[in-house]
Each structure stands twice: as structure tokens, then as C-alpha cells.
Symmetry: C2
Subunit: 337 residues, 2 copies
Amino acid sequence: MPDTVTARACANIALVKYWGKRDALQNLPSAGSLSLTLAALSTETTVTYDDALEHDILELDGVVASPADLGRTSAFLDLVRSATGVGIRARVTSRNEFPTASGLASSASGYAALALAATRAAGLTLTERQLSILARRGSGSAARSVFGGFARMRTGSTSEEAYAEPVASPLLDRIRMVVAVVGGGTTKTHASRDAMEHTAATSPFYNAWLELVPRDLEAAEAALAAGDLEALGHIAEANALAMHASAMTARPAIFYWQPTTLALHNEVRGLRACGLAAWATMDAGPHVKVITNDEDAPTLAMRLKDIEGVTAVTISAAGPPASVVDTVSPISIVSLG
Amino acid sequence: MPDTVTARACANIALVKYWGKRDALQNLPSAGSLSLTLAALSTETTVTYDDALEHDILELDGVVASPADLGRTSAFLDLVRSATGVGIRARVTSRNEFPTASGLASSASGYAALALAATRAAGLTLTERQLSILARRGSGSAARSVFGGFARMRTGSTSEEAYAEPVASPLLDRIRMVVAVVGGGTTKTHASRDAMEHTAATSPFYNAWLELVPRDLEAAEAALAAGDLEALGHIAEANALAMHASAMTARPAIFYWQPTTLALHNEVRGLRACGLAAWATMDAGPHVKVITNDEDAPTLAMRLKDIEGVTAVTISAAGPPASVVDTVSPISIVSLG
């Protein structure tokens, strides 16, 4: 049984957003979602089970993790330990290959990579579906990062039915996302979990949001099947606005936008009016991700990087599924001379 | 019968917003609203019926009005003419005493002043309620500008029941609004009428908005009765966000905010966290109006005027009802020497 495995997974950006849980313990979503996995934002995670350890150890981007992050990771590893019967503690090191100090959410790629590395290192080979269900327990959006390209999250009626699955589309090769990072990568003001819960409990628009998602999903999947980037872009932008509208109507309001967020959004609409393929989507932070194609991505990136308050711009194509990284075994070179 | 009358009315800012009509022709609102009339933003309008005129003439702020504005004003004057049987055309001159090039909506004060001047000049003295109903035909929010201080708009089941009425509150003397004007007073991108209609037709959150308004009205009126500025401020800010959330979830989206709008909003929340009385409300434009009290208004004004993109800041107390302006009759000075 190998006791060290390294896995890599990419972050994903939802085109139809995940915003609200129906079961916090099992991390079951209240509605489906649809995403694009991004090659440019990846996480590499190594898990080593070591019976000399008295507790799990977590290092994130070269730094010992906070007790809160460690606690969440340990709870996740307990799921793996209870499935395998392996009671040994683990050393986990994880590194994000994201734009510097981006503040972009890495829990999707992080838990997808951790789910894969932690199970393989424990000698367990899961199907992609099983892996997706497990990753979901760590972070709802991680269920989608198990897959490359477009992925649809099912709501499911039980935990075993709440998994993601890949969605084929002729758009896969030419879709791009331009990720514009706003500000200095400050910590999120609101943890997504708490923000979702607060929105569900207090926004007068939350029920309408839940009713909207299946309609947007159906339209987005039709656009993917038809290879219609424009239709997909319009749905994604409108759906992101609806998600933020539900958050900002929570009482008290949850605001993720900064003035630069709005400036980027205005610029995207302006460039679109000039004929470029460009539709904005925003998640639980101030950054803006622009859906575009391979042809227009460089122009967009040039325009967005000049907006005041933008600290980094990255172009990404669709990313691959989560995978185990082949690590070269150390070879002893014995001198024969 | 006097044939020239000048009337003055003040603009009002809704604390619980008017956003949606159920009858465009009669200008009947889909829900109630609640506002504060502002002393600092007033319109003075003079109406002269003149049988030498072949058509109505309209001058706005010293400039001959556009055909569209003239057409809307003539249609309104036709209501007065049909009520009085006076068929004579009128010369209308109207002047806004607003912060320079503000782009602040003047239709509320404009139609309240016009309703009063046009009826009095035609020899008709309406009750305040009748005047409110008439003003509503020109602009839904004008029904409230007939009154000073706080005013509640009734939805009514018929045109005769859709009027505003004053609401008493111990807050009247100490409430202030700090009006922060954003940008150079550009014309609104979306006319409110069209924007309301588009929101009602396409926003997935519009029904939830209509269900929210009566709850916010009830809470706001309770806060007014109790003299609770903090409760009133929280409701007003949350209600404004809900109105904008309904507009930005229209498809395509209606966006009134500029980056400076969001910077002002952030600053207001920051100052509130520091203990100041400050709650933001925004209408169909990029400007921000901050609800506060007499004590904190100067500090707020100083802070907001330094934000990049803010071109004018005005502090206003509650304003008076619409009234006829006593115009001094020209006196011939005859030299007796």
C-alpha cells in the first residue's frame, strides 16, 4: 500500500451558480449548478499517512495552516479513514498555482485534489462518481473539480445521488476565461458557507433564486449542446447577477463587489457592445471572470489589466480532470567506477 | 380668473421604493411607497394660459424643452384642460434648484409644481388629495411631492384611491439626507418608466419584490411612529438594494450603479460601523442619498465629498408641501415730484 500520493486538480468557475445548501452536514446543495474547470488555476496536494503522527498536519502554500483549516481537513480525512478502516494520521501539503495573492477560492481544487490523494494513499481507488461525492463533503464546488471541462452538479435526493458529471460540448476547445483579480487578495469578508446560510434565511429573493436555477441550467445545457457561446454567456452573466442580487438582499446585506468589480463589469458590457465575445461572472469575492473565446481572450486581457484596481489578469482554457501526479522515485546512483 | 400662477414643490426620495406600475396609462403603482420630501431640491414652475398660443410652450431651466418633454407636459395639461373646460394653451417655465448638473430626478417636484400651478391658473382649487391624484398622472412619485415631510403612497384599487398622504413622525425635525451626486449629471441610461416595465416583465425576482414592499412599508411606518431612525435607516437601505437587485436581474440587466456609487455605499457602511447614523439609498441613477440626523450630517458630507467621482454633496432637511408662490404684482412708481 503506497502511503504517499500526490494529486492535482483545477479550480472551476460556475456558469450557473451554486448558492445554498439543503443539508449543511452532508453538504447537499439546494439546487444544481454547472461549471467550467480552469487549467490555469490548479492545486497540487500530497498526502502521506504516517503512524508516527499523533494528529494530522496541514501545510498550505508553504505555511502551517490555521487551526480552523486544519480542523476542516481533519474532518474530511476522517471520512476517508472511516471508509478504509485506516486510522493513521496524515501529513498534507497543498500548493495553489493561482495568480499571486489572488484571493480566488481554492476550496474546489483543494478538496478535489485532497479527495483523490487521500483515498489513493489509503489504498482506495474510487470511481469518478464516488470521488465526486467524497469531494463534495469537503466543499460543494469540489464535486465538480473532479472533472475536466464542463461539469453539471446534480442536486440528488440523497448524498449518494449528489455528484457532478461531465457535460460534453463543442465549445470545450475554444472557450476561455479571463480572470481579473481585484485588489490585494484580501481574505473574503464572508465565508461562503455562512453567506449562503444567511442568504437562505433572510433574503426575500432566495426562493425566487432557487426557482430560477433549474431554468438557467436547462438553458445553459442547451447552449452547451448547441455550441452557442453567446447564449451560454448571457445565461452565465445573468445567473451571476441573480446570485449576487440574492446575497445583497440578505438582511443585513452581503456585498462582494468593490468599485473595481463594477468597473470591470461595465467594461465587459462595453466591449460586448463593440462586438467582442465577453460575459462577466463573479463569485463570492470581488474578482471578475470573463467568459470568452480563444480569439478574443488576448484583447480582453489587455483591456481589463488597465483598469484601476486590477492586480492580475490570467487567461485560462478548460482544465483537465483531477489526476494523480506521477512522482519519480528517488534513484540511487551508485558509482561503478 | 388669474391666468398666471407660480408654484413650488420639492423633490422626494423614497425610503420604500416605488418600482413598478400596474397601469401605465393611469400611472397606477403596483405597490405602495414611502418618501421624504427634501427642502434642498426644489422646482419652481410658472404656468400662463394665453389664448394667443397655438400650442403649449415649455421652457426647462432656461432652455426650450425637447419635443418629448413638451409632449408629456402637454398631455398632462390636457388633463387639467379637460377637468376645467379651459381649452387655452399655456406657457410653462420651470426651474430646478438642484445641485448643478446633478442628473437627479426632477419629475416628482416638477409634476407636483406643475399640477398646482396649472390648476390654480385655470381657476381650479383642488384639495391636497385631488392634487396628489393629478400629480400622479404626470409622474408616480410626484403624488408624494404634494406633501412635505414623510409621505405614504397608497396603491388604491382605482385612480381615485391612488394618492399620497402625509405621515407624522417625531423624526421630522432631525432627519437629514446627504445627497452625493456622482459624475457629471449625464442623462439617465434608462427612463424609469421603461426600466420598471422591463423589470416587471423579465426579472425572476420581481414578484418577490412586490411581496416585499408591503412588509417594508409596515416596518418603516412603525419606525416613523416610534421615532426610530436606526430602524428606518436599515429598512430604507435594504429596500433600495432590493429595488436595484430586481432591476439588475432583469434580462438584459438594468444597472444604475457606477464604481463611485459602490465606493459611496462602502463608505456609508464603514462610517455606520464607526457609530455614525448613515444608511444609503439609491434611485434610478448613480447618485447616493444618505439618511442621517442633524448631528452627523456635516461629518458625513465632509467624508463623502472626498470620494473620487463625487461632484457635489448637499445636506437637506425635510421639505415643505407644494405651495403657490406669492408673486409681487408689478407696481408702477409714478413720480409725484
